[in-house]
Structure formats: C-alpha cells, structure tokens
C-alpha cells in the first residue's frame, strides 16, 4: 500500500538561494520553492488522530465539512491516550473511533499497540522528507527521521484529512549543533532538556529546530531530541539524517533532505555534549532545567518511566541496568510503561521486563499512561514524581499541588532505588544481589 504522497513529477522546485531542511521539505511538498515567511499550501503524507480528539475529528469531518478522508491510507487513528478505557464516556469515544475506521478505511491502531508517535515510526508511516501532521503536540517526534512532523488541533487535522493538504507559514530555523561526546550516564534526554533550557520555552515559537548531530544517536534517541523541540514552541524539530538512520532501517533518504551550505538561520546554538551532566527539569515549566546534583536527596513518592519521550527499548535497558539486582525503595513506587507492543515484546524477550519486575516495578499497558493525568498513576496533593515524560505543568499528572520533575530513564531508575532524587552512580551505595 502506498502510504506517502504520490511521487513528484519532474525535478525539484527551482531554488534561488540556499535552503534549510524545513524549507526543502515544504518546497518539495508544495508547488514552488519556498523560504521562511512564505505561506505554503502543501501535500500531507500522513495524518495522525489520537483517541482523545477522535470524536471532535469525526464531528468536524462529518457534520462540519461533510467530507470523507481524501486518501484513507494516509490517515491513522491511534488509541493511546486513555487505553484501555477508564470510563464509559472514554469507551464510547473509542468505540466511535473504531466504527469510523471500519467505515472509512483509515488505519486503526487499537488499545495496547502503543503511543501514537512510537507506532507511526515503527510502522514506517513517517519517513525522511515527508510531512506528518498529528493531533498531538509531540508530533515533532517524526523529525527524528527528518520528517516534517507538526502538531495541530482537531479542526486542522480534519481539514488535512479532507483535503490531503494543509497550510503553513514556512518557519525560520534555529540551528542546533551538537559537538563532542557524552560522558557515561548522560543521555539524549539530558541533551534535550539542555536544549530547551538554552532555547527557552518560547525560544523557537513558530520556528523549526534543525539539529545537527552527525552520526551520533540511535533512532530512538533522535526521537527524544525531536520530541522535546515542541517544549521550545517549535513547529518542527528536524534531526539531519546520519548514523543508523542511514544504515539500519531501510529508509529511502532523499539526497535533497539535507540543508544547503549557506542556508539562513534565525539563530545558531552549539551544545558541547562532553560538558553535560544529567539534567532535571523542576516544576512547573520545562525550561526550568538544573543539574540533577543540585536536586539530589529530594524525597520522591512516584517514579514514572515511559511516554513518547522515553518509553523505548534503549530507555528500558538504561533503567534495567540501574535496577538489576536492586529493589525500589519501599517508600517509593515505580511505574514502567513501554511505548509500544513492539518495545514490550523486545523487553520481554531479552529479560528486561523480568529485571524491572523483580526490582519492584509496576508494569502497565503500552500507551501514554499518567503523563497527562488521566489514569494509571495520577498524583495526590503534595506528592513528588520524577518522570521521563515531557511536561511538568501545574496539575499535569493529577493534583495541582503535586510536583513533577523531568529526567532521563537512568536518573529515574536511580531515584526509584534511593527513594530520593539520585544520580545513576549513587546506587552503588546499595549492594546489588546476583
């Protein structure tokens, strides 16, 4: 089945000056070369709808537009935000989503398949050079493979499904160059948090973040980097293809998807990876980033490892490495929710889940879990949570007086062992059993 836009006839649009990755993609998917500031109407390769807005989407399509999806094969519905259903009204919404998929022929990924962004990446429904729109702000994640991934609301998503197109202002780009090598115990999540600190929570609003990482980072780690770009307000977070994106997944990486020498950037930032220590975002804004060492010792009630930011196999491996032979502190609870059924299967097969289970982790169904405070581990007033997720806003994971700290899976796992905010090396104090 053809999933992307049809092949483009003729040569690439005639460009008059060097282009960023965002300008390249929007030029290819439109009808002319475009540059930052232009308004472009472009073809959309894949439209993603999550369960929490499925009813609004269907209402816009059927009641407001009187339309059916123009290309059903380019639309996917994912049941992940409250999966399995927690209430009758949620169950009803999901039932309507299933009926809609059956009726229109759009793809449906049902309860337990996993978090929308993880699933679309695994299914190759986001590919280099594509435009992927999702009804979830973390749709920037698709930038891990240099797909222009962007989040939009129900109406925009319905318009894209109905027309096969969307309108956008071509964004300016912020160039983020990563240099040097990470120290042991420092991860892509720490890089992502540092990037948000440097850019600021509105530092890339309306812009595209273009990340130059060379051959560093796995696809999963690139997803973590691209995922967090929206926390700087970005429209897209594009990681220039390199490393395993070129070698491991069989992607067709178009030669044009790289930025031109001399492309114009609104801002250029360099992050020296070798200088980074594990980072933590403190309540209640994502750009409130500190070294974990500054917060070490803070009593923690719940640790959550999962989400579209950090629920992948490499994240579970990092957690298991810290937890192997150790136990979660009796005054703390650890929730682990794999990002997808594929991640879960891999972690089952290689023994990672057994390690986590023996350490006292509570395992959940692949999906979004308690990230947005709807089910599976919401917080009581005064509780402190260290989470591998992406937002620490007031009330995000439950009560308004709960406190959320964002960190890497390795820091989260160490925190679970110690019962307090901790660095991975701190668990050496706790003897591991064989």
């Amino acid at each position: 089945m053809t999933t992307g836009a049809p092949p483009f006839s003729g040569s690439s649009p005639q460009t008059t000056r060097p282009q960023t990755v965002a300008e390249k993609i929007l030029s290819q998917r439109g009808s002319a070369a475009v540059y930052a500031g232009d308004l472009a109407v472009v073809e959309v390769d894949q439209v993603m709808v999550v369960d929490s807005i499925a009813q609004s989407f269907i209402e816009r399509m059927e009641r407001d537009l009187g339309a059916v999806p123009k290309y059903p094969e380019r639309v996917s519905i994912v049941v992940d935000h409250v999966a399995p259903a927690s209430t009758v009204s949620v169950a009803q919404a999901q039932k309507e989503a299933r009926e809609y998929a059956a009726k229109t022929g759009v793809r449906l990924f049902d309860v337990g398949r996993g978090i929308c962004h993880q699933v679309l990446m695994e299914e190759k429904l986001a590919q280099p050079g594509w435009i992927v729109l999702g009804s979830d702000s973390h749709s920037t994640t698709y930038g891990a493979v240099a797909a222009f991934g962007s989040g939009m609301g129900a109406t925009d998503i319905a318009l894209a499904a109905a027309s096969g197109k969307t309108w956008l202002r071509v964004p300016e780009s912020v160039k983020v160059t990563l240099t040097g090598d990470l120290r042991p115990g420092v991860t892509a999540k720490d890089v992502a948090l540092e990037m948000i600190r440097v850019l600021g929570a509105d530092g890339a609003t309306y812009q595209s973040v273009e990340i130059h990482a060379g051959d560093r980072f796995t696809r999963g780690e690139r997803m973590t980097l691209a995922n967090l770009c929206v926390e700087a307000g970005a429209k897209a977070g594009l990681v220039v293809p390199g490393g395993e994106i070129l070698t491991d997944y069989g992607y067709d990486v178009p030669a044009w998807v790289y930025p031109d020498e001399g492309a114009a950037y609104a801002r250029e930032v360099e992050i020296d990876l070798s200088a980074l220590h594990p980072r933590m975002s403190a309540p209640s804004e994502v750009d409130n980033v500190h070294d974990v060492a500054e917060l070490r010792g803070l009593k923690v009630d719940q640790v959550f490892i999962g989400t579209c930011t950090n629920g992948r196999i490499e994240d579970l491996h990092a957690a298991a490495e810290v937890l192997r032979g150790r136990r979660v502190d009796p005054t703390t609870r650890l929730l682990v929710i794999p990002a997808s059924s594929q991640v879960m299967e891999e972690a089952l097969q290689d023994g990672t889940l057994l390690t986590l289970q023996r350490a006292g982790a509570v395992l959940g169904t692949p999906g979004c879990g308690p990230c947005m405070g709807r089910h599976q581990g919401v917080l009581a007033p005064g509780e402190v949570c260290v989470s591998t997720s992406n937002r620490n806003f007031i009330g995000r994971m439950g009560d308004k007086d709960a406190h959320i700290y964002l960190a890497s899976p390795a820091v989260a796992a160490a925190t679970a062992v110690m019962g307090r905010v901790a660095l991975p090396e701190d668990v050496a104090q706790v003897a591991a059993s064989a």
Binding site: G30, S31, V41, I53, S137, T155, D156, L159, G373, R374
Partner: protein, 177 residues
C-alpha cells in the same frame, strides 16, 4: 459590561483546561465548567459573555488540544489579547473563530476593568480611552471574513492564500503561522 481577566506569562493548555477534563472524559456538555480549574477556580462560574482575557507572552503553550480554546468559546469570551501566542493554540483559535490579538495590555489594564472589544476592527475601549489592537495578517483576514478557516474551506474548497483550483500554491504571508 464585559470585564478583563488578567493572566501572566506562559498560560499553558493545562492551565486553560486540564487534560482530565477533556470532553471525552468530563462530558461534552460540562467540560467548559473546568476552564482554568486549578489556576483560577472562580473563572468558569463568573465569566460573562464578551469578557476579554489578557496575558503575557507565549499564551497557549503546550498541548494541541483544541478543546481548551473550545471551552472558552462555549463560555462566550470576547477575545484573547497577549503579546505572543504558541503556534498550535493560535491556529486552534483561528479555526474556532475566537478573536486573538498580539498585543500586551497587561501594563495598561487590571483584572476586573470594564472594556468593550470590537472583534472586527480590533478597537478596545476602556474607562480612560481606546487601544487599536493590531489586525491579523491579510491572508487570515480573508479567512476570518467567513468566520473561521473551517468556514472558509467549506465555502471555497481551498485554503486562504491558495489559488482557486490550484493543487498547491504559495504566497507571502506577513505574520504569525
């Protein structure tokens, strides 16, 4: 007479409507009663039609949830004025036809001040005078004449700025999104 509700910088979508009160959880008929539930619990009960929300920079950061601004629409607010908006949220406001103006009124006006806002002209009148708010960019004004981008698309079968009958087209936009 409509009044001002004044907020600070970085009002996020969880402030506007916490995720657990999404319509598919709280109910389509009542979700708007949870608007600003944690940060201004009195808001939903006391807001009057036409009231104007003002805030600082980066209004609406966070989630793509359209039901956050939809809750405000159901409460019949007159508009939102902030020096900058987060991009997904700004699109959602346009799609719902909620007047949004990029301007900082937080120095000039206080919570509870009486105002009137003409959404068409962007003229805001308060006790001591008037402020002409900047109009949205031209291509959006074209769409907003039909009420919203959705209404524009329904009527014309294309997006604002797209050539009639064109498969895809471009045009220079002057401002946001």
């Amino acid at each position: 007479m409509p009044r001002i509700w004044k907020f600070g910088d970085s009002v996020n979508t969880d402030d506007i409507l916490p995720g657990k009160f999404a319509p598919f959880m709280a109910g389509e008929d009542v979700f708007q009663t949870f608007a600003f539930h944690y940060v201004r619990p009195e808001f939903a009960a006391q807001v009057q039609p036409g009231d104007v929300l003002i805030g600082g920079r980066n209004w609406g950061l966070g989630s793509s949830r359209e039901y956050a601004p939809q809750a405000l629409k159901k409460l019949h607010i007159g508009g939102i004025v902030a020096p900058s908006f987060a991009r997904i949220h700004y699109r959602n406001l346009l799609n719902l036809g909620i007047p949004a103006f990029e301007y900082d009124l937080t120095e000039l006006l206080e919570d509870g001040d009486e105002v009137t806002l003409d959404a068409q002209t962007g003229l805001l009148t308060y006790a001591d005078g008037t402020v002409q708010l900047p109009p949205p960019p031209e291509f959006l004004r074209e769409a907003l004449k039909e009420g919203s981008i959705l209404e524009f698309f329904k009527k014309h079968g294309r997006f604002p700025g797209e050539e009639p009958g064109a498969e895809a087209s471009t045009e220079t936009a002057s401002a946001a999104e």
